[in-house]
């Protein structure tokens, strides 16, 4: 059936809507520009020499945090748990009063702490010339000792939140399979079923062969964990906003899980391929170290791929939004918003693709380890 005319009509309508949308955005600043630009100029004048640092801003926003920024000056304080020389010290991160420059000292468990750039240090006895209770070296890094930081940070919070969401979704789906046995799927169940089947038929079966069922729980867990967290990371306000899959520690744990599964499930053919490949014996000097190295580079590449993709996406969106502050003009806002929306839409796709890539590569590596000799 030829549906091209329908498609063409829709495209035309989309173009019209989008043009109107852009026109509205570009026209609006003209109407209200006068008071706004004056206000901007005034506020900039106050700290004129201070240039907007886009890199620092972006890195601050993709990093972990001890408190959760809600809106404006509203923060949710999260518990800070420190393992110090004399046992644990626990206090609310709100005690720092959003200070990130080591100017506010918090006393807990008989010790004094300051927070500098989201790291917690033992406070110095006296403040330096900038009012900071740390000793800075010549590169402006703090030289103070650090307690072991086991805090319940924003990322940890999001981790638990995503676990709750995933559990809620899957327990509900599992229950409806029990209750509606033999009937067609309904509601959330019919939304999840194609995705689960996609993981089974397009990821597990082609790579793992007939032994795929053993690894389905792991593959499904990894897929949905990464996907849900990528999506949560794209939500700019409260329940989302943490950059969990763009945190290298989180991706490392996932990669280590794949590494362990690969190594512990490797059969004799897999190990023979590594230690006694079918090459002349004098090639072993080169082949064995390379193959041994390969065991580790594969999960490391998995770890860095996910981390770098998600981090790059977040930095891109933040940088586009920051263009307004870089050019210091309201007229750049429609451009920056349009590009940020466009990249945001691409990030939705990337969120899925990265979950898919991580899962399919995990399946590929495990499949290589359990493959029978042929």
């Amino acid at each position: 059936m030829d549906c091209s005319h329908v498609f063409e009509f829709k495209v035309k309508r989309l173009i019209v809507v989008f043009t109107l949308f852009l026109a509205f955005f570009s026209a609006a600043p003209v109407a209200f520009a006068q008071p706004d630009s004056a206000h901007v100029a005034e506020t900039v004048h106050d700290d004129a020499p201070k240039k907007f640092d886009i890199g620092k801003f972006a890195l601050h926003h993709i990093g972990d945090s001890h408190s959760w920024h809600v809106i404006g000056d509203t923060y949710i304080g999260l518990p800070v748990i420190l393992y110090t020389n004399s046992g644990f010290a626990v206090f609310n991160s709100g005690d720092f009063h959003h200070d990130d420059e080591a100017k506010v000292v918090v006393e807990a468990n008989g010790q004094r702490f300051v927070k500098l750039h989201e790291k917690i240090y033992y406070a110095s006895a006296t403040a330096n010339e900038h009012g900071q209770f740390v000793d800075l070296d010549e590169r402006h890094h703090a030289a103070n000792a650090k307690p072991l930081d086991l805090s319940f940070t924003k990322n940890v919070c999001t981790l638990f939140l995503s676990v709750i969401i995933i559990l809620a979704v899957f327990l509900k789906v599992a229950k409806s399979y029990r209750v509606r046995k033999g009937k067609s799927p309904k509601g959330l169940q019919s939304w999840m079923e194609p995705i689960i089947l996609f993981v089974r038929d397009d990821i597990a079966k082609p790579n793992l062969g007939h032994k795929y069922e053993r690894f389905m729980p792991y593959l499904l867990t990894v897929f949905f964990f990464i996907w849900f967290n990528n999506m949560l990371g794209l939500v700019p306000f409260l329940p989302g906003g943490a950059n969990l899959t763009g945190n290298i520690a989180v991706t490392m744990v996932l990669a280590v899980a794949t590494f362990c599964l690969t190594v512990f499930n490797g059969n004799k053919y897999y190990w023979k391929h590594i230690f006694m490949p079918d090459v002349p014996w004098w090639m072993y000097v080169v082949m064995v170290p390379v193959e041994l190295f390969g065991i580790f580079t594969k999960p490391i590449a998995l770890m860095i791929r996910l981390f770098a993709n998600i981090t790059a996406g977040h930095i891109l969106v933040l940088s586009l939004i920051c263009l307004v502050f870089v050019f210091n003009s309201l007229y750049i806002a429609p451009v920056s918003v349009a590009f940020a929306v466009f990249i945001g839409a691409i990030e939705l796709l990337v969120a899925f693709i990265q979950a898919f890539i991580f899962t399919i590569l995990s399946a590929l590596f495990i499949g290589m380890a359990i493959e029978d000799h042929h």
């Binding site: 860095i304 981390f307 993709n309 693709i353 890539i357 590569l361």
Partner: protein
């Protein structure tokens, strides 16, 4: 006088490399799908995996450039 970090040049070079690589992958996938439209879904999967490998190398470069910058 141009000021800035040489890391930016590194990131740009990485983008050129990845652009060439992904362009080649995408072009070849298009060729393949045009020849055999019924194999489109399999070609797309293989294309995505190959593209992910290329992209990963570019992103390694970006990460190194960022670290060099900071």
């Amino acid at each position: 006088m141009i000021t800035g970090s040489i890391a930016a040049i590194g990131a740009g070079l990485a983008a050129i490399g990845a652009g060439l690589g992904i362009g080649k992958i995408g072009g070849s996938a298009m060729d393949g799908i045009a020849r055999q439209p019924e194999a489109a879904s399999k070609i797309q999967t293989a294309m995505l995996i190959a593209a992910a490998f290329v992209e990963a190398v570019a992103l390694f470069a970006v990460v190194v450039a960022l670290m060099g910058n900071g």
